[in-house]
């Protein structure tokens, strides 16, 4: 090939690079997140909503005997608990497979040969699953609100006072996804799921850990449990289901603290996962 045509080609490339609109980190992360959401939808992750609606309707019929106000309380209790459990199920089982599946199926090979950083990939996958959870939780929350309107035969304040509690559930699920992602960045999906579930459970008792630590005699064991308290996510920040069933809403500062705690905790977990993921060889 002649020298001239090389130069012409290079010129064309320079011109074509002008159509690159935004080649920054954020558009790439958003593209990955959008694709992750699309995967969840096509893999029928949203089908659980059908199950949720069936459960809710079944529950409402079963509850037909009780007084209307008691009924409403039980619907909130049961509905929000179901949102948390369904959400946790998705967060854990989809979460541990988010990255693992891409490595296993070698779909990341083509992706990392493009200008995509490993951290960008992780954050994109994370946000994609969070978006999936947001849609899920929103639809389930709306289902609970509608059920309340139905059993009370009109607008009940509970139909909207439950929403701050629903938002707290979503935050908790977002922490859970980050935990699942961190574990799966260095261990198998099965083990990651088990560990994440374990953390989900003790995360709710983490406040008790501190009290328990204070009651201990030996300095070493006390230090251990105090460390555990700070290390594990404090999920009791997000447990507002019971109060919501009694028509209470979290005070703004409680809500804000939970939000900030969640953001910081997730940021730290994602940073740790990126550090681990950065060092991996995709053999």
């Amino acid at each position: 090939m002649s020298e001239e045509s090389v130069i012409r080609q290079t010129g064309e490339r320079a011109a074509s690079s002008a159509v690159v609109a935004a080649s920054g980190t954020i558009p790439r992360v958003l593209a990955i997140a959008r694709n992750t959401f699309r995967e969840a939808v096509r893999d029928r992750v949203l089908y659980n909503l059908v199950l949720f609606v069936l459960l809710l309707t079944g529950g409402a019929i079963f509850l037909g005997e009780m007084s209307a106000s008691q009924e409403a309380k039980i619907i909130v209790d049961m509905g929000l608990s179901a949102i948390l459990l369904f959400g946790a199920f998705i967060a854990i089982f989809v979460g541990v497979g988010l990255v693992y599946k891409e490595i296993e199926r070698r779909t990341i090979y083509a992706i990392f040969a493009k200008p995509v950083g490993r951290g960008e990939f992780l954050v994109g996958k994370y946000l994609g699953l969070c978006l999936t959870l947001l849609v899920n939780v929103f639809v389930m929350g709306a289902g609970v609100s509608l059920a309340l309107v139905y059993v009370r035969g009109g607008l009940d304040p509970l139909a909207w006072t439950i929403w701050p509690a629903v938002a707290l559930i979503l935050m908790e699920l977002m922490i859970l996804v980050a935990v699942a992602l961190l574990f799966s960045s260095f261990s198998s999906p099965a083990l990651s799921a088990l560990c994440t579930f374990f953390i989900f459970v003790i995360g709710h008792f983490s406040a008790d850990l501190k009290i328990f630590a204070a009651s201990l005699g030996s300095d070493a064991t006390r230090a251990f449990f105090v460390a555990l308290y700070y290390l594990l996510p404090n999920l009791s920040n997000y447990a507002y289901i019971n109060a919501a069933a009694h028509g209470q809403m979290p005070a703004p500062d409680v809500f804000l603290v939970a939000l900030i705690y969640g953001v910081v905790y997730v940021a730290v977990l994602l940073a740790a996962a990126t550090l681990i993921f950065n060092r991996r060889n995709f053999k």
Binding site: M1, S5, V6, Q9, T10, E12, R13, S16, V19, V20, A21, A22, S23, G24, P27, R28, A31, I32, N35, R38, E39, R42, D43, R105, R106, T107, I108, Y109, A110, I111, F112, A113, K114, P115, V116, G117, R279, N281, F282, K283
Partner: protein, 321 residues
């Protein structure tokens, strides 16, 4: 001076194998080579020679045990350089829930192209790799291996890369597909794209490449222009086919040519001489004996002999150890 398209210096990779007692296996041993801009460079080696390992190191999918490399003058650790390269993985597999078109648009999006440009490029590339238009909107889970290979090529070229790395691009294709992919790779020469072509099939490298490297058990055995490599393979013999020969006379006249061999064939004869230089003398003998010339052919493929001989030699050495 423009930097090389690819420059590899003492690149080394050990794999850790074994679960309990980890031991290291050297898959790539101090590989050094250079690829010029605009050339189609063949990377030839038997299965397990370390070709895929080399490419994965270059793509930053793995980290080297030792050595370094640059692509377009930038260190392989510099991910932003990936905007200017393309890669077709070995046995490619992509998101099976996406259609071919969606996948290409997604790839283009990762390069930061505008929505309009993404659509244009996706359609361009899919027709360029000759994927039938009726398959564009089918999910990749329904694709055959050959179709996936084409999608793989399309995604490798979606950003008009300056250097493209192809790991066994013809595998999984039928003969027509192989020829189409071969033509596609050849057409990259016109756009000035550098091609780093990995293959264990000599014929693919031979028809496409300007230069090639032969890799053997993780070590560079040879690198150079294809004609140089052919010469390294040694002298090639020639085969002359004639008809209407007077066999006894032809045999007598050929007696003076060292190493020549005469075989009778239906209606004629085949003469083999060990070197090209002896062809003239053999042709004189043919004419003098009154036979008619049908054809003159080179025998065997010196590059193939080089390739095969090297493998055997290395295996021999391995056994002696």
């Amino acid at each position: 001076m423009m930097s090389h398209a690819v420059e590899i210096n003492n690149l080394t990779k050990d794999y850790e194998v074994g679960f309990w007692r980890k031991r290291k296996v050297r898959a790539l041993d101090k590989l050094s080579l250079e690829v010029e801009r605009g050339e189609i460079f063949g990377f030839l080696g038997a299965n397990g020679a370390g070709k895929t390992t080399t490419i994965k190191l270059l793509m930053r999918l793995m980290y080297p045990t030792g050595g370094s490399a640059t692509i377009l003058g930038r260190d392989i650790g510099d991910i932003s350089m990936h905007a200017r390269i393309g890669y077709l993985p070995e046995h490619p597999y992509f998101y099976d829930y996406l259609t071919a078109r969606e996948f290409l648009e997604y790839c283009a999006e990762l390069f930061g192209y505008t929505r309009h440009e993404r659509k244009r490029r996706a359609a361009d590339m899919l027709s360029r790799v000759r994927l039938e238009e009726k398959s564009w909107n089918k999910q990749l889970r329904k694709f055959s291996k050959g179709m996936l290979q084409r999608v793989g090529l399309a995604q490798a070229l979606v950003n008009d890369p300056e250097v493209v790395f192809l790991d066994e691009p013809m595998s999984g294709l039928d003969p027509i597909g192989r020829r189409e992919v071969r033509d596609l790779i050849a057409s990259l020469r016109e756009t000035g794209t550098t091609v780093f072509l990995c293959s264990h099939i000599l014929a693919d490298i031979e028809v496409l490449c300007d230069r090639a490297a032969i890799l053997q058990r993780g070590r560079l055995a040879h690198a150079g222009r294809l004609d140089e490599l052919r010469q390294l393979g040694g002298e090639r013999g020639m085969e002359i086919t004639v008809v209407g020969a007077n066999m006894p006379e032809l045999e007598a006249r050929l007696a003076g040519i060292e190493g020549s061999r005469l075989t009778a064939s239906p209606g004629g004869a085949r003469i083999e001489v060990p070197t090209e230089k002896q062809v003239d003398a053999a042709l004189d003998a043919v004419r003098a004996s009154g036979a008619r010339l049908v054809s003159v052919h080179p025998v065997g493929n010196p590059l193939e002999e080089l390739f095969v001989a090297k493998v055997e030699m290395n295996e021999g050495q391995e056994e002696k150890k």
